[in-house]
């Protein structure tokens, strides 16, 4: 070997004090020095926007909560006249009276039953559709999306009228089943949208792993697929429940006055004009959705979904 290792060239290996290192946060020591000389970060304008944002947020809370507070005041007031800011006497008599009304109880049960069955049916029908739309690319996928989303753009009155004619001919009008089927029209798009979103970021390899390890397709579906998609299933079921729960027009048209759900009772009470009855019914109407959301709040934030992937 005639030409041994050449000495390291000065340009390639600058010393610690060479100008290249000045003003750079490389070594630990330099970093420390810099921290001592830099003033603490504080930007005034950011403080202003932060405060404004906080104020707006509380304003929004108030706007959302005010009608609810008013309902609570009305529902439990005995005598409340103009100049007084709050009711003079408090009572739960109106609540007890309304709750013991058989029509209200029947309406509550009908509403709950319809909403629960609609949620389950929309999940059962929406799940396969969402899986295919979320996981596969196929010809006519865009058209399938469009058709599935049509109910969200077409006015419910138009759907209801057409459906009513059809249901009258088939004998479904005025039946529990008829109302359930009618409710599926507005709930399905939301269920499919939610689940297709979950499937778009789903990885089928989890299922393949389960299969090759010896689990049957059914077992894989039950223990892996459903478990992975569960948070979105909860959210989708919640959507379906809430949409069915607050459905007035379709119930009225298809139920033909024979299926009386809470919204129908609430509307007739509202035209009656007794504020206490309206307030009590509204509170009863509000309770189940609030309860359901409280139970599922954890899933709504999507925390668990993110943790899993």
């Amino acid at each position: 070997m005639k030409n041994p290792l050449p000495p390291p060239s000065p340009e390639r290996t600058p010393g610690r004090n060479s100008p290249i290192f000045k003003n750079q946060k490389w070594g630990k020591g330099q970093n420390f020095e810099q921290n001592n000389t830099t003033p603490p970060l504080k930007i005034r304008s950011l403080d202003f926007w932060g405060r404004l944002g906080g104020g707006l947020r509380f304003g929004l809370y108030f706007v959302l909560a005010a009608p609810l507070l008013l309902f609570i005041l009305y529902a439990f007031s005995n005598r409340w006249f103009f100049p007084q800011p709050f009711p003079v006497e408090w009572t739960s008599a109106a609540l007890v009276r309304t709750l013991s009304d058989t029509r209200v109880l029947a309406g509550l049960l009908d509403s709950l039953g319809i909403a629960a069955i609609v949620s389950l049916l929309s999940l059962a029908l929406g799940f396969p559709a969402a899986r295919v739309l979320g996981l596969r690319q196929f010809r006519g996928r865009q058209i399938a999306w469009l058709v599935l989303f049509l109910p969200t753009v077409v006015p419910p009155l138009a759907i209801g009228m057409g459906l009513n004619i059809l249901f009258l001919q088939t004998g479904l009008a005025g039946t529990f089943l008829g109302v359930v089927l009618a409710h599926l029209i507005p709930t399905l798009p939301y269920v499919i949208f939610t689940l297709a979103g979950a499937y778009a970021r789903y990885d089928e390899n989890f299922e393949f792993q389960s299969l090759v390890l010896g689990a049957s397709p059914v077992r894989t579906f039950l223990t892996v697929t459903l478990r992975l998609i569960a948070p979105s299933l909860v959210v989708a079921a919640l959507f379906a429940f809430l949409i069915s729960w607050s459905q007035y027009l379709l119930t009225l048209l298809i139920g033909s006055g024979r299926i009386i759900t809470l919204p129908i009772l609430l509307f007739s009470a509202a035209s009656g004009g007794n504020p206490v009855t309206i307030a009590v019914l509204s509170l009863i109407f509000l309770a189940p959705p609030v309860l359901v959301i409280a139970i599922t709040a954890r899933h709504l934030r999507g925390g668990e979904i993110r943790e899993q992937y």
Partner: protein, 338 residues
């Protein structure tokens, strides 16, 4: 513990002009590890899907010990795989993940517990039963995935780029672990990778896969030192090719025909200051210090010769006049097939 035969497998996806796999045949001996080496899109992963039954081939057959398994569902085949991502079930603990295969096969809780403990020791993570996958590092997750795949004593283990998402140090560490566990358990294994070093370090035989076809299949050392075709040579890191009518090294190599193509590995090319018999003059365009060796790029007539010389080796500045020598004993003929 199975001899695997892949017979003339062909697979073409709809909407794609060319088939992913063309008439693919390979046989893997009992307890052997064969590496399938190829760039992405060469059909490696598709092949694994055909073997596990997730996809069906258009033509051809998959045989375990001479018996066709094409009509057997995935969960009965006994071919497990491990991917680049661990795909541990996030809602199960480490122990439940490893025990998954045994549980679905109906093993008793006692058996599962002892097997899981044994596997955790084998992969070097004892006492980790209660952890959740999210609490493990990437390397640990891959170890658990390996344990989960091996706990059922599968007929065939399929590794699909199992280490490519890991840091170099963890990767080398796991290469050794997988290699020794595979040899200890004697499980027939197919490793799919695009990393030449990984394929060479782990496999008994190595198949080079390009555009859905095997272009070379041999022991790693043979394939590395004497690739037979131009494509194989290029994949093995050879970048210097000489036609017979180029004068360099001709007499020494005993080159007969001008039509033939000769190749030489970069580490066999010599770069030196002084001219000698059969050396070619060139100009250094770059000289990179790589630690164990020095890499040179030298312009010789119209082509750039890439050479490596082990340390200690001279460092030449850019533009230095040097002489390049292609030792005759290292020149080998390659087939110039497109």
């Amino acid at each position: 513990m199975t001899q695997v035969n892949l017979v003339s497998l062909t697979k073409r996806y709809p909407n794609q002009p060319a088939p992913v796999l063309k008439d693919f045949s390979l046989s893997v001996e009992n307890g052997e590890m064969v590496a399938l080496l190829g760039p992405s899109g060469s059909g490696k992963s598709t092949l694994l899907k055909l073997i596990t039954g997730i996809e069906r081939p258009d033509a051809g057959d998959v045989q375990f010990d001479g018996v066709s398994i094409l009509n057997m569902p995935s969960n009965k085949r006994g071919a497990v795989f491990m991917f680049q991502k661990s795909y541990l079930f996030p809602f199960l603990s480490v122990a439940e993940n490893i025990g998954f295969g045994l549980k679905v096969q109906g093993a008793s809780a006692e058996t599962i517990r002892t097997e899981v403990t044994h596997m955790l020791e084998l992969i070097g993570l004892p006492g980790m039963e209660k952890r959740k996958p999210a609490q493990l590092s990437g390397g640990e997750q891959q170890r658990v995935a390996l344990a989960r795949a091996l706990v059922t004593r599968p007929k065939l283990l399929l590794l699909d780029e199992p280490l490519s998402s890991l840091d170099t140090e963890v990767r080398l560490n796991l290469q050794e672990a997988i290699r020794s566990i595979q040899r200890e358990l004697g499980i027939t294994t197919i490793l799919v990778t695009h990393d030449l070093g990984e394929a060479m370090a782990m496999s008994y035989r190595m198949a080079l896969l390009l555009n859905g076809e095997i272009v070379a299949l041999d022991k790693p050392e043979n394939l590395f030192h004497r690739p037979r075709s131009l494509a194989a040579a290029k994949f093995m890191g050879v970048s210097t090719f000489l036609t017979g009518d180029q004068a360099w090294g001709r007499q020494e190599a005993g080159v007969e025909s001008c039509k033939k193509l000769y190749a030489i590995r970069p580490e066999h090319i010599r770069i030196q200051k002084e001219a000698c018999k059969n050396s070619m003059p060139g100009v250094v365009s770059d000289c990179i210090f790589r630690g164990e060796y020095v890499e040179y790029q030298v312009a010789v007539s119209e082509m750039t010769v890439r050479a490596q010389m082990p340390m200690p080796a001279p460092m030449f500045p850019h533009g230095e006049q040097v002489h390049v020598r292609f030792p005759a004993e290292h020149l080998f003929e390659v087939e110039n097939r497109v």
